[in-house]
């Protein structure tokens, strides 16, 4: 799975958690905090992604996620 596909999957997950959120163009540098999600929603999105990818992100890694690049790196490491 390449980075573009991971970003697309992320966008799907956000839509699933809350269809009202409008996400613009996203790159590896896009900060998770700039997406207009609060912390509970962010965790919900992470949960949806875990199910789609059939992986579990370790809690201590979640705490360090800052941007989309961190997320794609984590997913590559886990899969």
């Amino acid at each position: 799975m390449n980075d573009q596909q991971i970003i697309a999957l992320f966008q799907e997950a956000v839509a699933e958690v809350d269809g009202n959120v409008k996400l613009g163009e996203m790159t590896a540098a896009t900060e998770l905090s700039s997406l207009g999600l609060d912390s509970v929603m962010t965790m919900e999105v992470i949960g949806v992604m875990e199910e789609k990818l059939n992986v579990r992100f370790p809690d201590e890694d979640l705490a360090t996620l800052k941007n989309m690049g961190d997320l794609t790196k984590l997913i590559h490491r886990l899969s």
């Binding site: 905090s33 207009g36 965790m43 919900e44």
Partner: protein
């Protein structure tokens, strides 16, 4: 609400400064607000409870992991493990009455170490773990204040979390050691000589300290004694829930460092021998449907959650999901710990009725850490009952008058045998049914006070009643809670309840439900109303106008200012409750909504690096202190340098 905070430390404390010396007949008008008495067990202390649990080896607590797999610990095994850990804690030099702070995210480790400390007479101080790195600075500050207030001797934590906590050793005078849960769990018992034979626990002894999350600058530790716990556990399990240990089973995802999770699902069920299945809090937040999935799978009969969780569960339940669930097993679904919104409750009941959920199972309840946990439960045999009252009579005359339209409040039932709940007026007089005043409470569940804080204790317990700081009234044998006394918005001599304004604003499209704060602030001539709300909408002007119009139409007030912030822009407590006073303070300082922007990734990383450096340094100086007494001078020099 904030994730870091689900993870919270109890309810907003109810200290109040009103002197209430004039009480005529304290019990007048209370008889209708008390339940019938039931039989209790023989337990006098939680240590008795642990001893009695040793005989029960066919059921106990199941701790699920994030994959929802986990093993059942029988009550007998829990009791034996508590003894084993108790001896280890004693071997570290912890004595009866010493405070042991606990920052332990894992449920199984938390519960076993908590009971171990209690078994040895050590007083645990549960604290919430750090989760969001962006807030590490304030987390460490709060942790240092809690540890200092509790005069904690040791801090128990995990290997994973410990690297950022070492700096606390140099910041907290009384803190001697950081103990790792891994060592407690894996220690070789044959090397331990300490015994528990000489430990005598009296019912009046402090069992643990519950820190409330209301104020982080001035934390207060509620002293929860063994007799408080037993009284409240009996009230919850027997009077309130009418539990049957043979058929009941609890399910909980609630954080264990929070009173509803700890007392409601760890301590009370142990005393009543009711098995419980625990879901990691973070698993629920990541995947809200797991809560009811686990209830379904384990045929849970009792589960509790705060209002927000009902909203999350409703939102995420697809028709496909509902078809897989059979929730007819739920006997009691309690709702408490934050204001209960009738609209949220109805949406939940409507949605899950198709999955067999019985509307009678929904049980609104009321409580706070200063009352150990529970103060009132609604009856088991009826659906949620609400009362709609006239806004004018309520806000103007402080009277609850039933009306076709107005403010809808959820009834929170009656209090337990041996306890009284009453409504008190501004002069300390007890009020009649239907009159609005401060809710006061008394009985064996009430704390004897805050740990080493005589002033706050005096205010809290003035006149022999626990002053909750909450406003409410009694009607038809039911208690209704309407808001916090300190948050009252007084405009032109008239009282408005912020909740009623907030719930009105929430109805507007584009405003995030549960993320609205209303408060008053000094204006040119009198107090003026400010409404702050979170939104994801970019076009803010139209939305602002809509909020203004709505508030004006509903209450006849013209707000001075509407502030719209992005998601997460409102300050929340560690348990995710909105902080009205903090919001007001930030507004008045002109810094509202800027907190998140300052927390960019660079700032966060710098903060983390600083903490790790300080931690490593503190660990180094701590080791010097331990191994070479003469080096103390060096440590002092280092400390002085560090504090500069």
């Amino acid at each position: 609400m904030a994730v870091d905070g689900l993870i919270g430390g109890g309810h907003i404390s109810g200290a109040l400064t009103t002197e209430s010396s004039f009480i005529s007949d304290p019990c007048a008008g209370n008889a209708d607000l008390t339940m019938d008495t039931k039989e209790y067990g023989m337990t006098q202390t939680l240590v008795d409870g642990l001893a009695a649990a040793a005989a029960i080896d066919h059921k106990g607590y199941t701790f699920l992991d994030d994959r929802l797999e986990g093993e059942e610990w029988s009550f007998a095994r829990i009791s034996a493990e508590a003894d084993r850990r108790a001896r280890y804690f004693r071997s570290l030099g912890l004595e009866k009455g010493d405070r042991l702070a606990m920052i332990v995210p894992d449920g199984e480790d938390f519960v076993l170490s908590f009971f171990g400390a209690v078994r040895a007479g050590i007083v645990p101080v549960p604290m919430y773990p750090p989760l969001a790195l962006g807030k590490l600075d304030s987390y460490i500050d709060t942790a240092a204040r809690i540890l200092g207030t509790a005069s904690a001797k040791m801090l128990l934590t995990t290997k994973q979390v410990s690297p950022i906590l070492w700096s606390l050793l140099s910041r907290v005078e009384t803190l001697e050691e950081i103990v790792l849960t891994e060592k407690v769990r894996d220690h070789d018992d044959s090397t331990i000589t300490a015994t528990l034979d000489d430990i005598v626990i009296e019912p009046s002894d402090a069992c643990f300290l519950q820190f409330t999350s209301g104020s982080t600058s001035d934390p207060k530790g509620v002293i929860v004694s063994h007799e408080n716990l037993v009284a409240n556990a009996n009230a919850i399990m027997y009077d309130g829930l009418d539990c049957d240990p043979e058929t009941d089973r609890g399910v909980s995802w609630l954080p264990l460092y929070h009173d509803m999770g700890l007392i409601g699902f760890v301590i009370s069920p142990l005393i009543a021998h009711v098995p419980v299945v625990f879901i990691p809090t973070l698993s629920f937040v990541k995947r809200p449907p797991v809560w009811l999935d686990v209830v379904n799978e384990y045929r849970g009969t009792i589960t509790f959650a705060p209002n927000f969780a009902f909203g999350l569960a409703t939102k995420r339940a697809t028709p496909q999901k509902l078809a897989q669930l059979d929730l007819s097993c739920i006997r009691v679904l309690g709702c408490g710990a934050e204001p209960i919104n009738p609209t949220t409750m109805r949406a939940f009941v409507d949605k899950f009725a198709t999955a067999g959920f019985s509307p009678n199972a929904l049980m609104p309840c009321y409580g706070m850490a200063e009352a150990t946990l529970a103060m009132s439960f609604d009856r088991l045999d009826r659906p949620m009952n609400t009362l709609t009252i006239d806004r004018d009579a309520y806000e103007g005359d402080k009277v609850a008058k039933e009306a076709a339209e107005g403010l809808e409040l959820v009834g929170c039932g009656a209090t337990f045998p041996n306890h009284d709940v009453a409504i008190m007026g501004a002069k300390g007089e007890l009020l009649e049914d239907g009159q609005v005043g401060e809710i006061v409470f008394r009985g064996p569940s009430v704390t004897r006070g805050y740990f080493e804080n005589a002033d706050a204790t005096k205010d809290l317990l003035a006149g022999g009643w626990l002053h909750t700081g909450d406003l409410g009234f009694k009607k038809n044998g039911t208690l209704y809670i309407s808001g916090r006394q300190k948050d009252l918005v007084i405009l032109n001599g008239r009282n408005y309840y912020p909740q009623s304004i907030e719930w009105e604003v929430e109805q507007i499209d584009g405003i995030r439900k549960g993320n609205v704060v209303a408060f008053s602030t000094p204006g040119d001539s009198s107090e003026e109303l400010v409404v702050v709300a979170e939104t994801k909408v970019a076009e803010k002007d139209l939305l602002e106008a809509a909020v203004k119009r709505r508030v004006h139409d509903a209450f006849g007030i013209r707000p001075r200012e509407i502030v719209l912030v992005g998601p997460g822009g409102l300050p929340k407590t560690s348990s995710g409750k909105l902080q009205r006073r903090k919001t007001k303070q930030l507004f008045e300082e002109g810094t509202l909504g800027t907190e998140n922007r300052l927390m960019g990734s660079t700032a966060t990383r710098v903060a983390l690096a600083r903490h790790l450096t300080r931690s490593a340094f503190a660990r180094f100086t701590h080791n010097i202190k331990k191994t070479a007494r003469p080096a103390k001078k060096l440590v002092d020099v280092v400390r002085r340098a560090e504090s500069r």
